[in-house]
């Protein structure tokens, strides 16, 4: 419909030029002034995210994979989907015994590691119907709103943080920002956005039935943030 394109643009141009708009300058002081002391950021993130039912685990670089494994075993999860080609994926796999039970992935107790290593088309039913939990990294978190920053990649697919009923997200305690605005400026996002970037601030929720908050409508029912110090 290139006719529509040229007609619309020509009309907008004529109409704008007949009555130009002079916008006021965009004063971003209000965003720049949203600052928290470094030690206040994590407690604030935690408070805001817990208010919308996010759960937190504490761990270190040395033990997070064990913390995650033990947590999921305790919660009765049977399958954990992960990104095998990422450094975190390799660390996670090392916390599981190497012999693959049922010939599929590494397992511990009743918990089996499932690698997300093939296109979703080859994997859809399993993904939707046979996976309890998914583990992803994050680029950090935002103090103002209590939000994780996710940056899916070739190695770490998008649906890892969406389809499994439990989303486990790793948060390095030194990657905290004051605002969304600061995170995108500091990291020069505008110079190269990925296929998909996300802020995630809790498990999936809805209030569409009489404003009653219900969790786990389409996305994960639970969001577990593992804080790594």
């Amino acid at each position: 419909m290139s006719d529509a394109r040229s007609a619309i643009l020509a009309k907008l141009r004529t109409n704008r030029d007949a009555h130009p708009v002079t916008p006021p300058p965009s004063d971003t002081t209000v965003l720049a002034e949203k600052r928290w002391a470094p030690e206040e950021r994590l407690p604030r993130i935690r408070r805001l995210m817990e208010a919308v039912h996010t759960e937190f685990l504490e761990a270190t670089e040395a033990d997070w994979s064990v913390v995650v494994r033990e947590f999921l075993v305790r919660e009765g999860a049977a399958t954990l989907l992960y990104a095998p080609a990422t450094p975190d994926g390799a660390t996670l796999a090392s916390a599981f015994p190497p012999s693959p039970p049922r010939g599929e992935g590494r397992g511990e107790g009743n918990l089996t590691l499932v690698p997300y290593d093939r296109p979703v088309e080859a994997f859809k039913e399993r993904l939707f119907e046979g996976i309890d939990a998914g583990l992803t990294s994050t680029l950090g978190a935002i103090a103002e709103t209590g939000s994780l920053i996710l940056w899916p990649s070739v190695e770490e697919p998008r649906l890892l943080s969406l389809v499994p009923h439990i989303h486990v997200a790793l948060l390095r305690a030194d990657a905290l920002y004051d605002t969304f605005w600061q995170a995108m400026r500091d990291n020069r996002w505008a110079e190269g956005m990925p296929t998909n970037a996300l802020l995630i601030s809790g498990p999936s929720k809805t209030a569409d039935i009489e404003q009653t908050l219900a969790y786990g409508v389409h996305g994960p029912k639970r969001l577990i943030v593992v804080v790594i110090r």
């Binding site: 419909m1 290139s2 529509a4 619309i8 009309k11 907008l12 109409n15 704008r16 009555h19 916008p23 006021p24 004063d27 971003t28 209000v30 965003l31 919308v52 290593d117 093939r118 296109p119 979703v120 859809k124 939707f128 103002e144 709103t145 209590g146 939000s147 990649s153 070739v154 697919p157 998008r158 649906l159 969406l162 969304f180 605005w181 995108m184 996002w189 505008a190 956005m193 990925p194 296929t195 998909n196 970037a197 996300l198 802020l199 995630i200 809790g202 498990p203 929720k205 809805t206 209030a207 569409d208 039935i209 009489e210 404003q211 219900a214 786990g216 409508v217 389409h218 996305g219 994960p220």
Partner: protein
């Protein structure tokens, strides 16, 4: 679409019916009170509210200042990223574009995230005529679609129904539904049904909250995850935006994304902020293979022509104006019979659909200014409302069907009124007559009848104000 002489939509009659429905009024009152108090908590810091609002308004005004250029930049960057851009002047053109894509990929089922533009297009009904199922996946939209009605609020589509009504609806329409009047049960049931649909859908559809010209990025915000499902799982994603939704820079997104959910539902942020910049790239394991962006005009370029009416296009669709409107909160969204109800609907829809059909809408307003006080991008809604009332009776070309509401009788009455007030003698005689004979007017007279149906008949004083003032010795000067 062929233009028949448009039939005027009768808001007065529909609102009367709504006012007599205590269930509906109760549902709305409760919901709107809740939304208003939650919003107020978010903006407790008056300076932050003032400054954020000024910033967001400046972002939207900059969009309007550079609209044609930003749309071209957006198109160029989206195209570079692999997103296919389509332009539609009318909703019929937009529907045809969608059908073309659906036919090419042989699609039978589309899952949809919330999109107000597709409501403008009546896309679901259109696709159904062509044998394609378009399933709403936002829980509120899903409920409304099951019920065969329209959304009654742009953010909370099923707010007119309570849990009991929704439980009954599910029981009637869904085979496996049990009679459980519990939001958690109903939500989980919808989850189970819709997950199967996400898995098998051929196409996913979504709206756009902000499209970034600088990077060619489509930003979508939502709480449920259905938006992410629709834009990630099916092999084809079609996104819809009104042409005003573009912003210049990526850094323009945070102020808009901050004010929108805080104004809408009183949340600091939605669960998901989803920024989509390209279809699946080489080596990536999921995401759609194709993304299409449909940019719809549908009257917006005409709204843009008038320097005053143009401000209508600042809107970021938060719905806060509805939540605070004394008319909307009493009659609900359906009474407007329009894709956009409430204050923003009252100024937007008449401009899109014309004043012959929608001439009543700008009058469904008490001009109390509540919407103007809370609008996060400072749209002068009430001034535009006043302007549209004038356009409705003054033939011209500023608005579609301007002058459609002009009435010779009304014009004559006002002419007579002006003449009476311009002549001291006529004025004296008329006021004297009113004070002596006014009370004898029967309540059956055209205007009085309406007024006295719910109110006492006003009584004229036996002496005019002028008369009393003169007696007190106040000089005429």
């Amino acid at each position: 679409m062929a233009e028949h002489p448009p039939q005027a939509v009768n808001f007065a009659a529909a609102s009367k019916a709504a006012l007599l429905d205590p269930q509906l009024r109760g549902n709305f009152r409760r919901a709107m009170d809740g939304l208003m108090s939650k919003r107020a908590v978010q903006f407790a810091d008056a300076k932050e509210w003032h400054d954020m609002r000024a910033l967001a308004a400046s972002v939207r005004l900059r969009t309007l200042a550079k609209l044609p250029e930003l749309l071209e930049t957006l198109e160029a960057n989206c195209t570079r990223n692999g997103i296919q851009v389509h332009w539609a002047s009318t909703t019929a053109e937009a529907n045809a574009i969608v059908l073309g894509i659906m036919k090419r990929v042989d699609a039978k089922l589309a899952v949809k995230g919330k999109s107000m533009v597709t409501e403008e297009m009546h896309l679901n009904a259109f696709l159904e005529q062509h044998g394609i199922e378009a399933l709403e996946a936002d829980l509120g939209e899903y409920i409304v679609q099951l019920d065969g009605t329209m959304p009654s609020h742009i953010i909370m589509p099923a707010i007119h129904l309570n849990t009991k009504q929704i439980a009954h609806l599910f029981k009637r329409k869904i085979k496996e539904a049990e009679s459980i009047e519990d939001a958690a049960y109903l939500t989980d049931l919808a989850r189970r049904i819709l997950r199967k649909k996400f898995m098998t859908a051929d196409v996913g559809m979504s709206g756009v909250n902000a499209a970034v010209a600088e990077t060619g990025t489509l930003c979508l915000i939502e709480n449920e995850g259905n938006g992410r499902m629709c834009t990630t799982v099916p092999p084809v994603h079609i996104a819809f935006m009104g042409l005003e939704k573009v912003v210049e820079h990526l850094e323009d997104v945070p102020p808009v994304i901050s004010l929108l959910p805080r104004s809408a539902t009183g949340q600091p942020i939605t669960t998901y902020v989803n920024m989509i910049t390209s279809p699946r790239k080489e080596g990536e394991l999921d995401g759609p293979r194709e993304i299409h962006l449909v940019i719809l005009d549908n009257g917006r370029s005409s709204v843009y022509a008038d320097p005053e009416l143009r401000d209508t296009l600042r809107c970021i669709r938060c719905g806060a104006c509805m939540n605070h409107c004394p008319v909307y909160t009493k009659v609900g969204g359906h009474a407007y019979e329009a894709p956009y109800p409430g204050p923003i609907g009252k100024i937007l829809v008449p401009q899109m659909e014309g004043l012959a059909k929608r001439g009543e809408m700008p009058h469904a307003c008490t001009m109390c200014n509540a919407c103007v006080e809370i609008c996060p991008v400072r749209i002068p809604i009430v001034e535009i409302m006043g302007r549209l009332r004038v356009e409705a009776v003054r033939p011209g070309d500023a608005v579609k069907d301007a002058g459609a509401q002009a009435s010779k009788a009304e014009a004559m009455v006002w002419k007579g009124w002006a003449a009476m007030n311009a002549s001291p003698t006529a004025y004296k005689i008329a006021t004297m007559a009113m004070s002596k004979l006014g009370n004898a007017a029967p309540t059956g007279l055209p205007l009085l009848k309406e007024w006295t149906s719910v109110r006492a008949k006003p009584r004229f004083a036996s002496r005019t104000l002028h008369d009393l003032a003169r007696e007190k010795g106040i000089p005429d000067v």
